[in-house]
């Protein structure tokens, strides 16, 4: 069988999910697909079941915080791998900060359990249907989500490491 490439993956996903594919790009050879968050579970299930696309391996799940993007402050990034085609792809969903809910994929990949717990622990993203969504690396009684950008790592009054001079504005978030 011919190995499928990024374009064929994109066409197949677009054909199956139509308007739920919001954006796509190829970054450093890896296909990125942005989808409606509530369809991501179905898309991953479909990719996993598909005969030719055969996305059989969940590489990781990452959260990202973009505080300046209004209405899409949090991203959940699923990195998947199809061994049949030796192709990696990324599926992203953007969530608004007042509704951080997305369906769990623990029913598809057992390994998603801790990856989702870690994402919850760091960013506060709630994976609906997760069997045991608790903090994992931090203390249970921690009352904030430390990877969010408003929690700057260093003393904000320090001037010698001020990122404003280097084109990024961390201190005014």
């Amino acid at each position: 069988m011919e190995k499928q490439n990024n374009q064929e993956y994109l066409t197949a996903v677009q054909a199956a999910f139509g308007a739920d594919v919001l954006a796509h790009e190829e970054a450093f050879g890896m296909l990125n697909i942005e989808m409606t968050p509530n369809r991501i579970h179905d898309a991953i299930a479909w990719l996993q079941q598909h005969q030719d696309l055969s996305v059989n391996y969940l590489t990781n799940i990452a959260g990202v915080h973009y505080p300046e993007a209004v209405g899409r402050e949090f991203a959940v990034v699923y990195q998947l791998h199809s061994w049949k085609n030796n192709l990696r792809l990324r599926i992203k969903g953007y969530l608004p900060k007042d509704n951080l809910h997305i369906a769990t994929i623990t029913d598809l990949f057992a390994g998603a359990n801790w990856m989702e717990r870690e994402t919850y622990d760091f960013f506060g993203i709630i994976f609906d249907g997760h069997p045991d969504l608790r903090r994992i690396l931090n203390m249970d009684d921690m009352d904030y989500f430390p990877m969010r950008k408003e929690y700057v790592l260093e003393d904000a009054t320090r001037e010698d490491k001020d990122d404003r001079f280097f084109g990024r504005n961390n201190n005014e978030l």
Partner: protein
């Protein structure tokens, strides 16, 4: 789950069930993590894990550090094979900035990374011996591992947390002492290793203890996103070095050993064979080591020699720009994976063009496969749980990041 285990679980009388702590500081957890076990006599009915005791917020730290200062953080992930972590990170940055790395550097990296893999597997396998009651086989390979550390020391000045290499290559070329020590290592190691192997591999007591301890099927291992030797022991030949070759791995001839049952003995045997294969790779890379420079031409990232900084205007400017983090960086997202000691070690880097990563996530194989541990030890005696824990090689630094 086999019928036998099901019977054990069903027969468990609530009155006989005891709850015990395995860890956080237990001699055979080899690191700080807790398992609360429910046991009926010797048999484990269920277990609950707590991790995060040495969580140091590496991903948060990385968001405030320039790229070259992130290398020392990666040391502290899997500290049994720090050079693989270091070089994996450097290659991620090189992928982002799109630079051609000289063939010599790639081969040098392969040699260092395979040395690290040997050291990593040696620790893991000798510790399996310890947990089965064989202390000699733990001390015996120590002297060999010591030689690998001396090689690290020659290349980086450090032994455990190596901060090996730089973005764009190495800090120095292989020194004459390195050449001499590597040659003598290649000569003496195989004999010492086979002696170590003969102590355990066909040892009746060791085999009886490890066969059937903590098995996992290929399907479950895949569902749990296992990688590395633990996945291969279950019979799946996934290896990043072969699947997505980096640093010229496609030039070398090596085989990927696989197991059948995914139990402790198979994990042990897979690691043993991987050590032999790593040695083969090192021999090939060293024999064919290309001529050339030990670093890429990358003045924006690679610190100039100190003598030049004092005498040469251009070098001074570059030095200043690198130290002050004024280098232009591309905007984008890269994922780069290397085959670490424990499996697919990935770096997911989002750059917004600033001097530090916007987001850096480590795909840490330990963290991902350790969640399968309760399933692997269900129905087994505690002594097997100990063996299983050491044979999946959970490294606390990598687990907790």
């Amino acid at each position: 789950m086999s019928q036998e285990i099901k019977d054990i679980l069903q027969a468990a009388d609530p009155a006989n069930v005891a709850t015990i702590n395995f860890g956080p500081t237990h001699p055979s957890t080899h690191g700080i993590f807790q398992n609360i076990l429910k046991v009926d006599g010797e048999k484990i009915i269920s277990s609950e894990q707590t991790v995060g005791y040495i969580h140091r917020a590496f991903e948060k730290l990385a968001e405030r550090r320039p790229y070259n200062q992130i290398t020392p953080i990666t040391d502290r992930l899997n500290y049994c094979s720090s050079p693989i972590n270091n070089i994996g990170w450097e290659m991620t940055v090189e992928k982002l900035i799109g630079v051609d790395i000289p063939k010599r550097v790639q081969y040098m990296r392969v040699i260092i990374m395979e040395l690290a893999r040997i050291a990593d597997h040696l620790i893991c396998n000798s510790v399996i011996g310890v947990d089965a009651g064989a202390l000699t086989s733990f001390f015996y390979p120590f002297s060999e591992r010591e030689k690998i550390y001396e090689l690290y020391e020659e290349m980086s000045g450090a032994r455990l947390t190596t901060n090996m290499g730089r973005i764009g290559g190495f800090e120095r070329d292989f020194t004459p002492v390195f050449h001499q020590k590597l040659q003598s290592f290649l000569k003496t190691f195989p004999k010492a290793f086979e002696e170590f192997d003969s102590m355990l591999a066909r040892n009746r007591i060791f085999m009886d203890r490890t066969k059937g301890a903590g098995p996992i099927s290929a399907e479950r291992a895949l569902s749990y996103s296992f990688s590395g030797p633990n996945l291969r022991a279950a019979g799946v030949d996934y290896d990043v070095r072969a699947m997505n070759p980096y640093s010229s791995y496609e030039d070398f001839d090596f085989i990927i050993p696989v197991g059948v049952n995914g139990d402790t003995y198979d994990r042990f045997m897979v690691r043993q064979e991987e050590i032999r294969q790593s040695l083969r790779i090192i021999e090939q890379a060293y024999k064919n080591l290309p001529e050339g420079d030990y670093k890429a031409d990358l003045p924006d990232f690679y610190l100039p020699p100190k003598a030049d900084v004092y005498n040469n205007m251009e070098a001074l400017i570059y030095h200043f720009k690198i130290v002050m983090g004024e280098t232009e960086l591309p905007v984008g997202e890269v994922y780069h994976a290397v085959e670490g000691g424990n499996g697919e070690l990935g770096y997911y880097l989002i750059s917004d063009g600033g001097r530090t990563p916007y987001r850096l996530q480590f795909r840490r194989p330990c963290f991902i496969y350790y969640q399968a541990y309760p399933e692997m030890i269900k129905g087994l005696p505690i002594s097997d749980a100990v063996l299983t824990l050491s044979s999946i090689n959970v490294i606390a630094g990598e687990l907790d990041a």
